[in-house]
């Protein structure tokens, strides 16, 4: 983060970054020194306070993106364990991000330590400022030297002046700060450089040793500045970068263990720059967009993780078609344009959403799962006044804990989504004043049994099962109100008749099967010549047929007696008659063939003898089949 050159960070917003970098130590003196420095060493100040001294803090303020860098140096006599960083009230309330690290070496060899703990304290006997105390990892011994790098990011420090402009005017902003580094310690040397987005300055406070060149205003170096020295400077300059401020951003991160992390971001955006007064002329805007509408917000770029898919961009009233996606292996860039160019004071609201592959963001450790995903918004030139990050975990997740790199308000709620019973647990992280520096990963740890994955599909299965069972029950249930009505009785009788006919058909089919068996035995006979086997088959067939005829009798009598079966009985009886005839013929044929075999007649002879019978059988068989079908139709 510290190695990036400040000019590369072009944030068109009311975003202030203050950075206290210290990486160049002055030669050690008799006193321990705390050494602060900025990359480009624009401003050097030395501050001496009692026994503690700050050497060459370089403050570097980039005003186009409103970034504010400061370097400090500490020369202390006694051992110190804490370094105090005061900020005036108006800055402190807009302080979004504060990072203090110890760095060693210089230039490219610079290395940074972990972030140091910072607390708000209220020291007695000090001016009414907001104090931050940086706890050093080990006491700074007398005469020792330490390089602290402090990075502070402020929002809303640029005030548009004038507050209202027409479409043709350039947007001018005023910036106010102290030319000296505000410190409770004496400062040895310091300078301040204000870097402007455009080389256009309306006015700036001229102090001694002030230089204006290109797009930079340089104050200092000033030497041996006492503590709490505050010479005010005001810079009034042109800044046509749109000030995109999300008044509210709701990020919903929904984890699905079926392989997807769905991110939905709801933005409530305002252009916080100078308000547009008078007409908005589309004609002027289209013809000379950079003159008439120079400060308008035209598009935003969201840097999404690689492999983001199913990206959408819409608002309350539907899809917005002006967006583009460029993706490579490292990132996915989503370029979106609001529905209309946004001038100062104009608002818009929109939603972007995308899916991410689960395996890139969900990991396991010590039996717990954890989601590791960025906190802030993917648009790197936006200030967010209120962010709500909601992590929706699958239903049934337990032991939820959050590890975030910075403090945020944490609450829990539940969300009812598809097929949920109790709702999915939601972790809500709330934070004010969020800047791209907050785009760090945070982790949500939870336990979730893999078996719970199957719950929802099983519920669906069960639901459908219930539905089908209900259908079956309905079909089979008797919902008749009056059990004595004639139509109901008729229906019952008809049902009985139908079962009887079904049984009848069954029997008939079995009879036909027996016929087929007899035929088959004849064929076996012609192949093997085994007369005994054939006779045995005949015997069993006879027995079966007798049995079936017995079974048939009660059915027939029932059908004849039932009034509902009147129109069927005729056919049934006809069928019985035909079948008897058929049976006789089949038997006749069978015995004829067996006889012939016993008499060892020739094959042709047999064929001739049974030809007539065979013809009759075919005919009868056809009739029986026809009749069966007719009955089937009923």
């Amino acid at each position: 983060m510290f190695t990036s050159t400040p000019t590369a960070v072009l944030i068109p917003a009311t975003l202030f970054r203050e950075r206290n970098c210290t990486n160049e130590s002055t030669p050690p003196r008799s006193l321990s020194t705390l050494h602060f420095r900025i990359f480009h060493a624009f401003l050097q100040c030395l501050l001496r306070s009692r026994d503690f001294q700050i050497g060459s803090p370089d403050r570097f303020i980039i005003t186009d993106s409103s970034i504010h860098y400061i370097a400090q140096e500490n020369n202390g006599v006694e051992a110190v364990s804490k370094v105090l960083l005061p900020y005036p009230e108006n800055q402190a309330k807009n302080l979004a991000f504060l990072l203090v690290t110890i760095t060693e070496g210089k230039g490219k060899t610079k290395t940074s330590s972990d972030r140091l703990p910072v607390d708000v304290i209220h020291p007695e006997g000090m001016p009414s400022l907001t104090w931050y105390a940086v706890s050093l990892p080990k006491e700074l011994s007398k005469g020792g030297s330490l390089t602290l790098e402090v990075k502070a990011v402020f929002t809303h420090l640029l005030t548009p002046f004038p507050e209202k402009i027409t479409q043709a005017d350039a947007q001018l902003v005023a910036f106010q700060d102290s030319a000296h580094y505000l410190s409770p310690y004496a400062v040895k040397v310091q300078s301040l450089t204000v870097k402007l987005p455009e080389p256009k300055v309306e006015s700036y406070t001229k102090l001694e040793n002030t230089k204006f060149s290109g797009s930079e205003i340089k104050y200092g170096p000033y030497e041996n500045i006492p503590p709490f020295s505050l010479p005010t400077i005001i810079v009034h300059f042109a800044n046509n970068k749109p000030f995109s401020v999300a008044q509210e951003l709701v990020r919903e991160i929904e984890v699905s263990h079926w392989g997807n992390v769905q991110v939905t971001e709801n933005y409530n955006l305002i252009h916080a720059g100078a308000e547009l007064k008078g007409e908005f002329s589309r004609l002027d805007y289209e013809e000379r967009p950079h003159v008439r509408g120079a400060s308008a917000l035209r598009s935003l770029v969201a840097r999404l993780p690689a492999r983001a898919h199913s990206i959408y961009y819409r608002d309350e009233i539907g899809n917005i078609s002006t967006s583009n996606v460029y993706s490579d292996s490292v990132k996915t860039l989503l370029e979106i344009e609001p529905r209309y160019p946004m001038f100062g004071g104009w608002r818009t609201a929109f939603t972007i959403g995308y899916g991410l592959p689960l395996q890139d963001f969900l990991f396991k450790s010590e039996g717990k799962r954890f989601l590791d995903i960025t906190f802030g918004c993917p648009m790197n030139d936006m200030v967010i006044e209120n962010i709500y990050v909601k992590v929706v975990l699958p239903e049934g997740s337990k032991d939820i804990s959050v590890v975030a790199p910075f403090p945020s308000k944490e609450t829990r709620e539940a969300k009812l989504s598809h097929l949920d019973i109790a709702g999915r647990p939601v972790v809500v992280l709330e934070k004010k004043n969020v800047v791209p520096e907050h785009n760090q990963n945070f982790q949500v740890y939870y336990r979730f049994s893999s078996l719970s994955l199957l719950r929802e599909p099983l519920m669906l299965v069960f639901g459908f099962l219930l539905f089908f069972v209900a259908c079956i029950a309905y079909v089979h249930a008797d919902l008749t109100i009056s059990k004595s009505s004639s139509s109901y009785i008729a229906k019952l009788q008809w049902d009985e008749v139908q079962t009887a006919i079904q049984q009848f058909q069954n029997i008939m089919n079995r009879v036909l099967v027996i016929h087929n068996k007899l035929d088959a035995s004849l064929r076996d006979l012609s192949r093997t010549g085994d007369v005994q086997a054939c006779k045995a088959a005949r015997k069993t067939a006879d027995a079966f047929l007798k049995e079936l005829t017995k079974e048939l009798k009660p059915l027939l009598s029932f059908l004849q007696s039932s009034p509902q079966a009147l129109h069927i009985v005729a056919k049934v009886e006809e069928l019985v008659v035909k079948e008897k005839e058929l049976q006789e013929k089949v038997m006749l044929k069978h015995s004829m063939v067996v006889d012939s075999y016993e008499k060892k007649s020739g094959g042709k002879d047999i064929d001739n003898r049974i030809a007539a019978v065979q013809q009759k059988i075919t005919l009868l068989r056809q009739e029986v089949d026809d009749l069966l079908e007719v009955i089937d139709e009923i």
């Binding site: 008078g278 309350e316 989504s417 005729a570």
Partner: protein, 851 residues
């Protein structure tokens, strides 16, 4: 009954196997001898008397009959019951025989046989799966709009419905019922609960709540977008049952397919077309079907169901007036044609009385059923049938339980007295002649009394006269002369022939054919569909939007034509084929099967001709499908909020200007700002822009609209006075001069002048015309070139070059260079113009300081 066979002929002797055999039989019993014909077709014996089917007997294969020694002495028994229900298709059963005859191993064949579905089950399976596919088809063909654009609400009225539904789901039913909407008709407001048909919104909300209850986290927008396709799919099911009721299940299936993709219906039921018509057509067809079912069965249960269908229809759409006039008309026609029956009496009385009572629960309808002239026909018919002789009041069709209910219903409407009174009089006057005289007297006096009551009621204002819309239906020129606000709506224009062709395609030709079939087999049901078809076709000719109402009737009647023709042809094809013909899924044979027998005699080409005709029908139907798909994807799936065009390189260009403007309004104007625009955009501004409008699409107050029309057509100074008096903050106009979008405010302007002039005579149409011609170029009327609408549309347009090679200020929608390029606005200033200039919004400046 016994018949003796007296003569037999064998016409098709040269063909072996099953063939036609004609027997002439003589009735044995009784005095008269009657000649009958028995036709044996492939084993099916059908009895024909004088060409008309009488009965079907048992199956006797031809061989058996011909092998009988003396065919002249054959005696056949014919069941003496209702013949129609005895018909059994035997031909189809033949197909299985060949399979059964195959020598297979006995075990396997029995297994196969047990697995094989019965013919009936097969038919049922095929029918259900076809119906299911049609259901799915009807749904997905309406999703083109989502594929082409997105899941969004279309057009104008749906936005209001959507907004109301949102309100309903957020605030509950009670709040919805009492909702007073401050955002429309400023400063009058609108009592929403009492001035809308809530059926659609309640349906969508109900679906939404059900899905939520089942834990499907859907958005209300998705529900609203898909409501119309869902109901269109349901309509296909209703159409199937209706077709089945009218003709047979084949016709029902064809009707389901036709209506599933008919463009006339799709135009109002694509996904996103969240309008009353989406559910109303379903309700309309359902009511009609249930009523026809009730008339056919005489069952009170069906009549009750139809009353509930009617209630749903009333709750959903103002088109219910069509039902409440068509059904009495139908009853009247049945009366005149002598088809009056107890079934009709039960069906109509129950449906009317209960339907009326239920409809009164809808606040917007209220007591109109007894107070409005449009509903008087139904009431008149209701009274009329109470006076009809009730000798048919026997109870074969109604059980005692139902009779009690009927009486209870009638008592509730004070009519059982009349009814019983007639019975009592009839009982007293034993002579029928006396009774008829009495009846004539009572009916005449009752009709006279009714007429007088109607006259007095109308004169005293108790019974409201017909509304303008109703008049304009009966007299197409009425609206043009008297109510410009009705005539100005594009969907109220008379229909062009091309749009009939566009919406109906081959149905337009099948419709008369279907009518022919209906007349050939006239029944209570077919009379209904004929009347429905003819009346709705007339209305479709009067107003474009009523094509929608005609669509179900056209589909049903065409389905009858298709089904009957195809069935006849396939039977022709099949009967000529071998004994084992191709199986057919058609279950029931009908009279055609028998008439075909004789028809076949006269058909020289027989089978080949039938095959050719079948192929032709298939071709026509496939053209229909292609046409419907094309129309749906190209013409009817546009949401009209988002405009799409082809760019110079063939790519798709989207003009999303409407939403751009509405969203700008929503975000960048004060929440209490009032927006004045022409009424077309009112609903969209309130729904998408969330701002108060002066007038909107619910054109209930003509004066208010005329005031806006007057403001638009006045000079800026005068308009400013009106605007201030209406407390307007923003003025919105739609302008297509840059993109060539033709339905913009300049093209609608003459209607604003007319409507404004209708109330405020200061506005005179000729002031805006030059020799009767409407021009915006240099030759335009001076008042035209300086009125507010002109100024707002063309403000600074004169500096813009729209087309290469044309002078600046060239209006692409009208193809002229505008006449007034130097427009200065004094009291308004441009607040926002969308990227393609389609919507322009102006801010009304506060009054100038005096010093």
């Amino acid at each position: 009954m016994l018949f003796q066979l007296i003569q037999s002929t064998l016409p098709g002797k040269e063909k072996p196997g099953f063939d036609n055999l004609y027997f002439f039989v003589k009735k044995k019993q009784g005095v008269q001898t009657e000649r009958r014909v028995i036709v044996v077709v492939g084993g099916t014996k059908i009895v024909v008397r004088g060409g008309k089917l009488v009965a079907v007997g048992i199956c006797i294969p031809v061989e058996v009959i011909s092998s009988l020694q003396n065919p002249n002495s054959l005696t056949v028994e014919i069941p003496n019951s209702d013949p129609i229900h005895q018909i059994r298709p035997m031909v189809a059963a033949k197909m299985e025989k060949s399979a059964a005859d195959l020598p297979a191993s006995p075990g396997l064949s029995s297994v196969l046989k047990s697995l094989k579905l019965k013919t009936k089950q097969q038919e049922l399976l095929i029918r259900v799966s076809v119906l299911f596919l049609v259901y799915v088809l009807a749904f997905i063909t309406r999703l083109f709009s989502i594929l082409r654009y997105e899941s969004m609400i279309h057009e104008f009225d749906p936005y209001f419905n959507y907004r109301v539904t949102q309100f309903l789901t957020q605030n509950g039913f009670y709040e919805f019922w009492n909702w007073f909407d401050y955002e429309s008709w400023y400063p009058l407001g609108r009592i929403v609960g009492g001035t809308l048909y809530p059926g659609l919104m309640v349906t969508a909300a109900f679906i939404f709540w059900t899905l939520r209850f089942l834990r499907f986290a859907v958005h209300i927008r998705e529900v609203c977008v898909l409501t119309a396709p869902f109901f269109a799919a349901n309509t296909t099911i209703v159409a199937y049952f209706f077709g089945k009721e009218l003709w047979d299940s084949g016709a029902g299936l064809v009707a389901a397919v036709l209506i599933a993709i008919c463009p006339g219906y799709i135009s109002r039921s694509v996904a996103g077309s969240y309008d009353n018509e989406g559910v109303a057509i379903f309700a309309l067809l359902l009511t009609f079907y249930l009523f026809v079912k009730a008339v056919n069965t005489g069952s009170l249960a069906w009549a009750l169901a139809s009353a509930f269908g009617y209630f749903y229809m009333v709750s959903a759409w103002g088109g219910y007036v069509f039902i409440i006039n068509l059904i009495p008309l139908y009853v009247l026609v049945l009366l005149i044609t002598g088809r009056y029956s107890m079934r009709l009496y039960v069906a109509y009385n129950c449906m009317y009385v209960l339907g009326m009572l239920l409809a009164m629960q809808i606040r917007f309808v209220g007591f109109q059923h007894v107070q409005s002239g449009e509903h008087m026909a139904a009431m008149g018919v209701f009274f009329l049938i109470q006076f009809l002789p009730s000798h048919q009041y026997s109870r074969p069709t109604i059980s005692r339980f139902y009779v009690v209910i009927i009486k209870a219903i009638l008592t509730s409407s004070y009519l059982v007295q009349v009814f019983n009174f007639l019975d009592w009089v009839k009982y007293l006057l034993d002579d029928p002649k006396k009774f008829h005289t009495f009846l004539r007297f009572t009916v005449t006096s009752a009709v006279g009394l009714g007429a007088v009551a109607l006259g007095v009621g109308t004169a005293s204002g108790y019974i409201s006269p017909w509304t303008g819309r109703f008049y304009s239906l009966l007299d197409p020129t009425y609206a043009k002369d008297h109510i410009p606000i009705i005539a100005s709506v594009s969907e109220h224009q008379p229909t062009a022939w091309s749009s009939f062709m566009f919406d109906f395609h081959i149905l337009l030709f099948l419709f008369p054919a279907g009518l022919y079939f209906c007349f050939k087999r006239l029944s209570d049901a077919t009379i209904f569909i004929v009347m429905y078809g003819l009346t709705s076709m007339y209305f479709a000719g009067v107003m474009v939007r009523l094509i929608l109402v005609a669509t179900p009737a056209v589909c049903l009647i065409s389905a009858i034509a298709v089904s009957a023709t195809v069935k006849n042809l396939t039977q022709l094809v099949r009967s000529k084929s071998k004994p084992a013909p191709a199986g057919s899924s058609k279950g029931a044979s009908n009279t055609k099967a028998s008439s075909k027998g004789s028809l076949e005699q006269s058909m020289p080409f027989g089978r080949n001709g039938a095959i050719a005709l079948l192929l032709g029908a298939l071709y026509l139907l496939s053209r229909y499908v292609i046409h419907c798909t094309w129309v749906t994807s190209e013409a009817y799936s546009s949401p009209s909020i988002v405009l799409a065009a082809r760019g110079a390189h063939g790519q798709r260009v989207i003009f999303d200007d409407y939403r751009e403007a509405y969203f700008w309004l929503r975000q960048n104007t004060p929440p209490e700002a009032k927006v004045m625009s022409w009424w077309d955009y009112g609903y969209q501004i309130t729904a998408m822009g969330n701002r108060t409008v002066i007038v909107d699409n619910n054109t209930w107050n003509n004066t208010h609209i005329a005031t806006v029309g007057r403001a638009m057509s006045s000079y800026e100074d005068e308009a400013y006075e009106i605007i201030k008096s209406l407390d307007v903050d923003y003025v919105l106009v739609v302008f297509g001069g840059v993109t060539g979008y033709s339905s913009d405010d300049i093209n609608k302007f003459l209607w604003m002048v007319r409507i404004g002039g209708g109330v405020f005579p200061v506005i005179k149409e000729p002031d805006y015309l030059v020799n009767g011609e409407y021009r915006v170029d240099k030759g335009g009327a001076p008042k035209m070139l300086n009125c507010l609408m002109y100024k707002l549309c063309y403000y600074r347009f004169g500096e813009l070059t729209t087309e290469y090679g044309k002078p600046p200020g060239y209006d692409r929608a009208r193809g002229v260079e505008i006449g007034n390029k130097d427009i200065k606005l004094e009291h308004l200033e441009e607040a926002f113009t969308t990227s393609n200039w389609i919507v322009r919004i102006y801010k009304v400046k506060p009054p100038n300081n005096r010093w």
